[in-house]
Every structure is written in C-alpha cells, then in structure tokens.
Amino acid sequence: MSAISTAGLTRTFGPVTAVDHLTLDLPASGVIGLVGPNGSGKSTLIRLLLGLVRPTHGTASVLGWSISSPAAYAHRVGALIESPAFVPGLSARKNLLSLVRLRGLRPDRVDEVLAIVGLAGRDAEPVKNFSLGMKQRLGIAAALLPDPELLILDEPTNGLDPAGIVEIRGLLRGLGESGRTVVVSSHLLAEIEAACDYVVVVRFGELIFAGPIAELMARTRSHIDVRAERETDTDRLHGALTAAGWAVTRSGTELRVATEAGGSADINRAAAAAGVTLSSIVIVQDTLEDIFLEMTGTTDGELADRRAAANGGTAR
C-alpha cells in the first residue's frame, strides 16, 4: 500500500494553479524528499494531504484513506507545516501538553518527545525565549507526539546548527528504517541527498520526477575543468580540445570539457600535443543540486520565464 497516493490532484487559487494534475504514489516506509523551487506547490500539496485545504480537482489518499476524510488518518499522521507554531507565552511543556490533550494521548508522551529532540532540560521555558533552532526541535517534537506512521515535515532542519542537522537527519533516517514514512520538504538539497531514499521533484505544481534517489543520481554527469599554465595559451587549448571533438565551454581562463572522468588522460595528451601545459585538471561530478537546477530552472528569473512560457504568456 502506498503511504500517499494522488490522482490528478489540482488546487487553484484564483488564476494561480498551485498544484496541477499531480499524480504520484509514494512508498510506505523510508524517507521521502519533496523538493521544488519557491512557489512550486510543496506547501499546498502538504496542506491538501492534511485536510487544511480542499482540492479543486482530483483525488488523493493518505495511508489508504481519502483526503476528504482527514479525521480517519489524523491520529496516524504527525506534521510540521511551514514554520513551527506555538503559543509564545506558554512553556514548551504546556504547548505540547495542549496538543497531547487535543489528540487524547498519554501525558508522559510529552517527556518522551522532548527527550527525542533534545529539549528535555528546556521544557519549562516559554517558547518566546527559544531560538529558531529550538522552536524547530519543538515543532518536530509536536509532530512526533502521536508516534505517527506518516510524518510530514516542512523544512525540518531550518535554523538548526550543523550538529543539530546531523542529529535530526539521524532521527529521520531512524524513523524511516523503523517502517514509518517520513516526507521531508526541504530546500537543502544536500540534506535531501543525505537523508532520503526517494525523491519527488515538483515545479509549478507539476510532477517533474518521482522515484528512488539513486535513480535520480544516476542522471548525474561529470565534467573536467582544465586551466592552461599560461593565460595566453587558453585560446589555443580551447581550439585543440574542440578540434579533438569535445564540447568545451569557457569561463574566464577555465575551460569546462563535457566528458566522463576517464577522459582526463586524453585531455592531457591533446593539450600536450598542442604545446599547452596544464596547471590544473579537475574532475567535477554533478550534484543533486545541479540536476535539480537543470530540472527546475537556475534562477527566479529563469523560472518566471518558464512559467510565463508554460502559461502561453510573455516572459518578464
């Protein structure tokens, strides 16, 4: 059974289509990354799944239940939606206690989740005194309260220090390995790469990719960046490499050669044959970020152009 399944799920807000005929099946258990540029519909998708907003068209199910009946699965789902939200004047403990009572859980569950997120000694402090990272931990604690089968976390590592990020990553991986499904929406692609087994990429509310992260990483390519020892040799080197059949792009005195990692020796030979001594030769492997940017657009301006083109309108 899928943890989350959608079919033609669509949500519009006036002229804006936040989620556009989204069809996907997310596996039960494991850590799933949900990535996309700003305004790509990630938050709206999460709100749809949690019953906070209703779809314009299409259907979806969470843990086998239709999103039109969120009460059927609410007790099995924990969520951190956008930023952590609490009553600032109340202590961390009382904030969690109010949620424990709302969900009809054991009061000692508060102590358990506070210990999990490392806030056990800070529970009596008012939340308004908390740093962003501590609020984030408390938000994760609130999401963990029902010991959920499905955990949906929007930017869970936002505001955390490096040690905190590693700690939360370990927590999420542990939850995924224990059979739970953890959906993590994040802009930190390195974090997604490190923590997730499965990834969903959306842009303009449309599905761009959904599958195991290994499958996405298989799309990575390598390049070789070379630099001539003498700047004046750069043009000659560029000509020699192009003549040898490589696609070469130039950035100042650096040349990027599109080839596999094993091509470095051939490049070195071609340079030597042209009488150019190389000062550096570096193999560069694409990261998830490179793949993501290629899929979704490099800059906000490029995204705006693509959106305008998709809508049949005029670019900026």
């Binding site: 709100r47 949690l50 019953g51 906070l52 907003v53 209703r54 969120p70 009460a71 609410a74 789902v77 969520a79 939606i81 956008e82 930023s83 939200a85 609490f86 009553v87 600032p88 004047g89 109340l90 009382k94 206690l97 109010s98 949620l99 009572r101 709302l102 969900r103 009809g104 609130a142 029902p146």
Partner: protein, 265 residues
C-alpha cells in the same frame, strides 16, 4: 469535544492573558462604582450614562440591587473586554499559525470551535465573578462614603447576586460570541476588536438616533437590558430571546466559515 476543551484550557491558562482579562474587569468594576457613588456624593443627579455605560437611578442604588448595580451598569464595557479576549484567543491561533497544527490534529473543525467556545465561556464565568466580587467590595465603602443607605442591600442578597451574575454572564457570552465570529471572519484580533468597539461606540449610537425604536433590538442595548434583568426599553424575556438570537446567528456564521474555509494561514 472534551479533548478540545482540555486542550484549550491549557492554552487559555496563560497567566499574563488571564491577569490582563480579569485585571481589566476588576479595574472597570472599581471605576464604575467610584464614579457612580462619587457622583451621588457630590450631590449631582446620575447621568443616564455614556457609550458603554448605563448608570442606574438612585432608587436602584439604595435598593436590594445596589451592591451589584455597578456590574450591570458597566456591562457593555465588560462586554468589550470580553469580546476582545475572545477575539484574541481565536485570531491568535491564525496569527501564530497554530491553527494548522490544531486542524491537522483534529479535522472535525466544529469540535475545535465548540471546545473553544466552552473553554472561553468558563473563563468568562471567572471574569464575571471577578467583576461581581470587586464591584461589591468597592460598592460598600463607596456607598457609605457617599452617604447612601445600604440598609436594603442585605435583603435577599444571594438570589440578587446570583441573578446579577447570571444576567451579566449571559450578556458577556453574547459579546464573546460576537468577538469570536468577528475573529473567525477577519482572522485578525486587531480588526475584530476595532470592529466591535467601533460598533459599540459609534455605529450603535448613530443607528439608535437615526431609527426610532432601534434600541429594542440593537446589540448593545439588548445586552445592557439583559445584564440589568430587563429595562424600560426592553423586557427581560425579550432581551433573553434577542440575546439567544444573536448567539445563534454568531455561532452559525462562525461555524459555517470555519468549517468550510481553507486554512492558508
């Protein structure tokens, strides 16, 4: 609903919020009694009132209702305070983003609203008690200082106090429901409070002057009559009936909007 109520009571139990709410009720109780008895003490006739205040006549002050006359007299001001805190309690969930967490944990939204209403009514009961106790505590020395006879004040004191408390509590709950409805509609405590206070101080006064007989049904005058146990413009049963009607309209509107509207905050 019980789970929601217990959860709400934790969040409403913020010492600073309660101190503000109950403190204002006590403060206005002191002020109204001081002004009322001070005016009589100075040998002046009691004015009919001001926006939000309907002063009793001298006969009422010296009668069995004297010790609690201040509560009824300031019921509209107490009402504005109550409206404000109900609005803050509701709109605060939107401004803090807590509403996302609450609705995702309890998707039966009418239960969330119902639990919140009951919790706020419980707090309103305490606030009414604070106003009544402070009012009576201030009334006795103020009356003695003003030279007003208090010999009739002990007559049927428990039922008199109980009736005054119940009527004021009922009126304040209607004010609170108005604050709740405004907060659900606007999702902003500032706008909700401004609308409530603006209505009481400006709109109702204007409408009352423009439309003859409107004091028989306008919100403020209805709730003043309810708090006083009926008055010259509106009988007690009519005030109770109209008050109930305002509650039904307010809750129906708030429920319809809250259960249907997307949570995008």
């Amino acid at each position: 609903m019980t789970a929601v109520l217990r959860s709400e009571l934790v969040r409403l139990g913020r010492p600073r919020m309660l101190a503000g709410w109950f403190g204002l009720m006590g403060l206005f109780a002191v002020m109204i009694n001081t002004v009322m008895f001070g005016t009589v003490s100075a040998g002046s006739e009691l004015p009919p009132g001001a926006p939000g205040v309907a002063l009793p006549d001298l006969a009422t002050l010296t009668g069995p209702d004297g010790p609690v006359a201040g509560v009824a007299a300031a019921s509209s001001i107490f009402g504005v305070v109550t409206l404000s805190f109900w609005a803050v309690a509701v709109a605060g969930d939107y401004s803090s983003g807590l509403i996302r967490l609450l609705v995702s944990a309890q998707p039966h939204r009418w239960r969330l609203l119902g639990g919140k209403v009951i919790a706020l009514m419980m707090m309103t009961a305490i606030a009414t008690t604070v106003a009544a106790v402070v009012s009576m505590a201030v009334a006795v020395p103020s009356a003695q200082a003003a030279g007003i006879s208090t010999s009739a004040w002990g007559t049927d004191l428990p039922p008199t106090v109980a009736a005054a408390w119940l009527n004021t509590f009922a009126a304040l709950c209607v004010w609170g429901v108005l604050g709740l409805a405004l907060a659900v509609i606007t999702r902003s405590s500032a706008i909700a409070i401004s609308a409530g206070v603006g209505y009481l101080l400006v709109v109702e006064s204007l409408v009352a002057r423009m439309l003859d007989g409107s004091s028989h049904w306008l919100l403020g005058s209805t709730l003043t009559a309810l708090a006083r146990g009926g008055d010259a413009s509106l009988s007690y049963p009519a005030a109770v009936g109209l008050g109930l009607l305002y509650v039904v309209v307010g809750l129906t509107l708030a429920t319809a909007i809250f259960t249907r509207r997307d949570i995008t905050d």
